[in-house]
């Protein structure tokens, strides 16, 4: 049976529309072989994203095949590649650079746990590819040779920032980044929406204030053990109203002043991670409860000054809350009952080392929210078996 040329399955724009609903590889891949027209329409879509996840015991076969194709002269769809994620795969500097050269339209690059790569190759890549997101996190756990990428230097980050003015997403695991290169990022990457840095002890107000001033679209800021003070937070409050996520684990110079400023000025806040920010008290958390009704996750691990006074407000005023971490907080059963009776979307609760809690209260909570995950909680006192895996970590992650 022949179809006239107007049949939708012979019209490229309709085919492309249909294929856009088949974006996972498993469903789009077979369309490549149906006929030539289908191949011409689906290959460009298929080539947009390339994700390769290997592992210690698990070699990524797809990655090997991809490298082989990249070595050929004929790679008709390489220019469609927009996103490349490589996790725990074997890759050399030359291989990575070769891929970038063949795929000049690459915009999103993520490299995780790939040892042997150098700083230089990343900055060379940014000379060819106008990156919009860059994520480089190489955790040396379990890997014999510590990757140089784990310790990206200021000079490299400066080069990257200057080559990628469209950068919107930057995640770096390096612990050697200082204010120097972050200031360059602030000057060059004014469209920055997400900045996530690892152990940031060399980062101070000097650069974060500049970031806040120059990047009004900032939605996500993550710093760990940095030396910033409330001054940075007040600048963010003033300049970045779109902020949604703030993670300041171990930033011990932060006090209520800074958090209250942010919570008032950034009404759409969804996540605060203030683990080990010892200066935070009920004042901050009450302000968050009152101002950030869209709150989904709150991490107050080791914030010893947090008590029932503010947690009950959170329970009362934040209906969208999904994750709450109160490890070592100064809470009693009052908070547990408050949570049990509200927080209808709560999926995970961390109450380790909260020594004043009774089994009765927690059982009440579990009976009202049977699917909740409470790490470390022993269900021995419960009558019926629970579906929850109590040894698993709650679903809260950054």
């Amino acid at each position: 049976m022949t179809y006239n040329k107007l049949h939708p399955l012979y019209l490229p724009e309709i085919l492309t529309e249909i294929f856009s609903y088949l974006v996972t590889y498993k469903t789009l891949y077979p369309t490549l072989f149906v006929n030539r027209l289908w191949y011409f329409c689906s290959a460009p879509i298929l080539w947009r994203k390339a994700d390769f996840i290997g592992g210690l015991n698990n070699v990524c076969i797809g990655w090997r095949k991809f490298k082989k194709v990249m070595r050929e002269n004929r790679k008709p769809h390489a220019s469609y590649l927009l996103q490349l994620h490589i996790s725990s795969c074997k890759v050399s500097n030359d291989e990575l650079y070769g891929i970038a050269r063949s795929c000049p339209n690459l915009r999103h690059l993520k490299i995780k746990w790939c040892c042997g790569l150098s700083d230089r190759v990343i900055s060379k890549i940014t000379q060819i590819c106008l990156l919009e997101s860059l994520s480089v996190s190489c955790n040396s756990k379990g890997i014999k040779r510590s990757s140089e990428l784990n310790n990206m230097k200021d000079t490299t980050l400066c080069k990257i920032a200057n080559s990628c003015p469209n950068l919107q997403y930057l995640k770096l695991g390096s612990s050697k980044i200082t204010d120097i290169s972050l200031r360059t990022v602030a000057q060059s990457c004014i469209n920055l929406r997400c900045l996530k840095l690892g152990y940031s002890k060399h980062i101070t107000d000097i650069s974060i204030i500049k970031i806040a001033q120059n990047c009004p679209y900032l939605e996500y800021l993550g710093l760990q053990t940095s030396n910033i003070t409330d001054a940075s937070l007040k600048q963010i409050a003033e300049s970045c109203p779109k902020l949604l996520i703030l993670s300041l684990v171990g930033c011990q110079k932060i006090t209520d002043g800074g958090i209250c400023a942010i919570s008032s000025a950034c009404p759409n806040m969804q996540l605060y991670a203030l683990e080990d920010c010892e200066g935070i008290t009920d004042i901050s958390v009450k302000k968050i409860a009152q101002s950030n009704l869209n709150l989904k996750y709150l991490n107050l691990v080791w914030c010893h000054l947090i008590s029932d006074e503010s947690i009950c407000e959170i329970a009362r005023l934040c209906p969208k809350l999904e994750g709450l971490q109160l490890e070592s907080c100064d809470i009693t059963d009052t908070s547990i009952y408050a949570i049990a009776h509200s927080c209808h979307n709560l999926r995970g609760l961390n109450i380790k080392d909260c020594h004043y809690l009774s089994d009765v209260a927690i059982n009440t909570l579990i009976s009202r929210k049977p699917n909740i995950i409470i790490p470390g909680w022993n269900p021995a006192d419960m009558n019926s078996g629970s579906d929850t895996d109590v040894n698993s970590e709650s679903g809260i992650s950054l």
């Binding site: 049976m1 179809y3 107007l6 049949h7 939708p8 399955l9 309709i14 529309e17 249909i18 294929f19 856009s20 609903y21 088949l22 974006v23 996972t24 590889y25 498993k26 469903t27 891949y29 077979p30 369309t31 490549l32 072989f33 149906v34 006929n35 030539r36 289908w38 191949y39 290959a43 298929l46 390339a50 994700d51 990524c60 076969i61 797809g62 990655w63 095949k65 991809f66 194709v69 004929r74 790679k75 008709p76 769809h77």
Partner: protein
Amino acid sequence: MVTEVKRVKLTSSEGTEFQVDRNVAERSVLLKNMLDDVGESDCAIPLPNVTGPILTKVIEYCTHHKDDPPVSHEDEFKKGSEDIDDWDAEFCKVDQGTLFELILSANYLDIKPLLDLTCKTVANMIKGKSPDEIRRTFNIENDFSPAEEEQVKFENDWCEER
């Protein structure tokens, strides 16, 4: 003061006249633009590319969805073929010929939600099938030579593992 709902006349390819409320007709961007240009007029709008039965279906869709809010551009990027509601799913339980005519009409009349729905439906018919099964479902001829097929496989099978 009662506002009269305006009626609009449409003529299918066979010449059959259909009367619909103006707000129903305006679900089609093509018709909306035409009506805006023409203003107050009693003339019927001819649709030579759309047969009577298909126009009936299109009108049925637009009538059911006449109060839907406009689709925002952000939704464009969140494509998934799972979320078809019951009424829409029933609406699409038609033979292939009708389904494809609906796609063409939605495209011609510029009714994006109907185009999305019908394309999603076809996508669901493709999902999970091998190339051979796809060809048989839609009666498509394989115009690859064996050498070409090999080349396609070599260039693209890095993604097959997922």
